[in-house]
Assembly symmetry: C2
Homo-oligomer: 433 residues x 2
């Protein structure tokens, strides 16, 4: 199937598990281009460029895997606080490709810096030289295949030619689709907020959709804001908000070599300088950033490979957040829980199993479990109000909430996952999917 915008608008899902997304539009200081290097052999867009004509402050978090892709090694070597562009390719992860893979990135960077420098000369009053150490890269796709740097380089002129300085909803959708691999839907999210009196935009796009386990897996997430914030503040804000958003989702417990979530600030909004993350003027921005990240993260989980349901596991009233997290993830990662949910079976015994194996001390007499609003276990015993037919009806919904009250403290953690279906197996047993 060739991805195109018309296909997308036709299939746009008004009954999406987490609601349709709002349209993104212009964000001062950011330009987007997409093109096809024909890496899939079907002419779909597979290269997306985010270009900051005046530069952008930025911060990134990366996979925790001990084997990381060559583009991430490149990004980690960049010490510049300000960057000029992010280039994303799909189909090839550039992981376990060794020196050749890294050299591929180098020559793309060299070419890209030259073409963008030319563009500066043509378009800007005060053109600047774009250096290779102002460029970062994201890759996603198959591990261990030769990285097609020549193919990508040959597309760069076309890619840069297509860049417009005014963005609209179409280019955002093209970008969100251009970074997809086995995702079925593009993932976008936006919030508007204030820093002092300045109106600020926060736009984000992301892709999934297998290998999603804490610390992000084959997730790519990119957030763009026009706020005037330093790279150091962006880094603190990203780290603060990643644990309850992108690091709270799990699709299959697998983690990729290529995960990356970044935030870019074009600083066009001209809000007053913020010096500390504790500045009350940042409160609104912080909350909105969390919303954008959480919204994207949920879209990744609900579009996990083969997913038919978005499953939220809320563990509450635990003695520590760490323990609440262990329990939420033990349930979120349990194949037996996830297959029961796929079967729309209110099999609370499997929830008990998954709580038990989380290696957290429990007082069973204080444990309560609800499926949605349906009380199943109350203080360690099967609730007298438990009606299996009612709960079975609830299990047919698209959004399933498993609420676990540990009853021994005040700390909470929510994890997001999907059900485990035959479709997941189909997608992943296909020879080299």
């Amino acid at each position: 199937m060739v991805f195109n915008i018309n296909n997308f608008f036709n299939s746009r899902d008004k009954n999406s598990k987490i609601g349709d997304f709002q349209d993104l539009d212009h964000l001062n200081g950011l330009s987007i281009g997409t093109t096809t290097a024909n890496l899939y052999g079907n002419k779909r867009d597979d290269l997306v460029l985010f270009y900051f004509r005046e530069g952008a402050n930025y911060a990134s978090v990366y996979t925790q895997s001990k084997i990381v892709s060559e583009n991430i090694k490149w990004n980690l070597s960049i010490k510049n606080k300000k960057i000029r562009a992010l280039l994303v390719n799909t189909r090839n992860a550039n992981a376990f490709t060794g020196k050749k893979g890294f050299d591929g990135i180098k020559s793309i960077a060299q070419n890209l810096s030259e073409i963008l420098t030319e563009k500066q000369k043509l378009d800007e009053e005060k053109p600047e030289k774009i250096k290779t150490n102002e460029l970062i890269f994201a890759s996603t796709g198959t591990i261990g295949e030769k990285f097609p740097s020549e193919k990508i380089i040959s597309c760069l002129p076309d890619l840069i030619r297509k860049i417009k300085y005014t963005q609209n909803k179409y280019i955002w959708i093209k970008a969100a689709m251009g970074i997809m691999t086995t995702d079925l839907k593009p993932k976008m999210s936006m919030e508007e907020c204030k820093i002092g009196n300045s109106s600020i935009k926060i736009y984000g796009i992301a892709k999934g959709s297998g290998m999603i386990y804490p610390n992000m897996a084959t997730t790519l997430g990119f957030v763009f804001t026009d706020a005037n914030l330093s790279s150091s503040l962006l880094s603190q804000l990203l780290k603060k908000n990643i644990s309850t958003t992108f690091n709270a989702i799990s699709c299959d417990g697998d983690t990729s070599t290529n995960d990356m979530v970044s935030i870019f600030a074009t600083c066009n909004a001209k809000n007053a300088e913020i010096k500390s993350i504790n500045d009350p003027k940042l409160k609104n921005f912080n909350k909105s950033l969390n919303s954008v990240l959480l919204n994207l993260a949920k879209r990744v989980a609900s579009d996990g490979e083969g997913a038919s349901k978005l499953v939220t596991i809320n563990t509450i009233n635990c003695n520590t957040e760490e323990n609440a997290k262990k329990i939420s993830f033990s349930v979120a990662n349990s194949p037996l829980v996830k297959t029961a949910i796929a079967g729309e079976d209110p099999n609370w015994g499997r929830i008990i199993m998954a709580i038990g194996k989380a290696n957290v001390k429990l007082n069973l007499k204080k444990l309560s479990i609800k499926f949605g609003k349906n009380l199943i276990i109350q203080k360690g015993e099967l609730s007298t109000s438990f009606n299996e037919d009612e709960v079975a009806e609830y299990m047919k919904e698209d959004n399933i909430d498993i609420n676990i009250d540990i009853g021994t403290g005040k700390k909470n953690f929510s994890a997001y996952t999907m059900d485990l279906t035959k479709k997941y197996i189909e997608i992943n047993t296909d020879y080299r999917s």
Copy 2:
């Protein structure tokens, strides 16, 4: 389907992934009975009694889950070094059944002790009273359902009536089938060895077959020997050998509330007393016990829910055994690796991913990977001898060995698992399977 021995002999699989088992026969001091309490509603055997007319020394290891079944709570409360019987029921796990579940065990124990005491009076020259604290229990099945203690109690007279003092291969197969849940095949294993000049038998049976992750999951394993060994020695021997056998298998990363592996020694063999686990006379026994446990563990893994292949992950030359174990299990528990194997796809990129996420420091330049004898990665690079067609041919076999050479030390660990197939999802999405 009603399980019966004829069915079993007809279907007995001469091409089993780990070879057919040897027939077990008489073991002095042990008697076996099986019957049906009709817990499945299809008259299959669901109650199995192992009776030691002169008592047996024993040791057990149990699930590491923080929520354990009522029968395991009972067993943990038994301080006697010698026991008289083990009663196993299937279909109902007696987990999360609270005080009623525990009281159920109590009344079964009371009844069983009375009936066995009567049997002693009838059959023994020096009859002894069988006390409730000489009885232990194993349960497997659905969590959270009312424990059918009355049904079980009503079957005890029939069960004890059926006991014969001479055992043959048929009663062993009946016992191995009587403890099965979703297992497709009974699991038996035997070794003969020497302690000093005495010939010793070691017989074992086990069941799986979902929720199998280290520390045993819904695994039940029972090993019987006629060796004369103290309970303390049995405990040391069991703990020593469990980590590389039952705790080296993983089916789906889930752990049950009911796991239990026990060893029973009738002491009929009259070998000279052994005082220390380091006694060289134990060497042969120790090795044979490991073989019996490993053989059973592999049978459990190869009959894991939906399994079409037995997969062995050998991580070698690591700096510590703990790290080798982390890597082996990271691969063994990866749904993406397991679906690729189900698809017979030599997708080594997913092995790289799973090694990377194991959180073990690596020197990629020393990493080598083989599928069977086929070299894929040699010292961090794709081997020049790698021929994808040859490896794809290898992936069609029933036994797949993934050999990972870390190259930084001398410690090894092997984990055993199965592929992840649509059949697994089918079995587990069925309403309350």
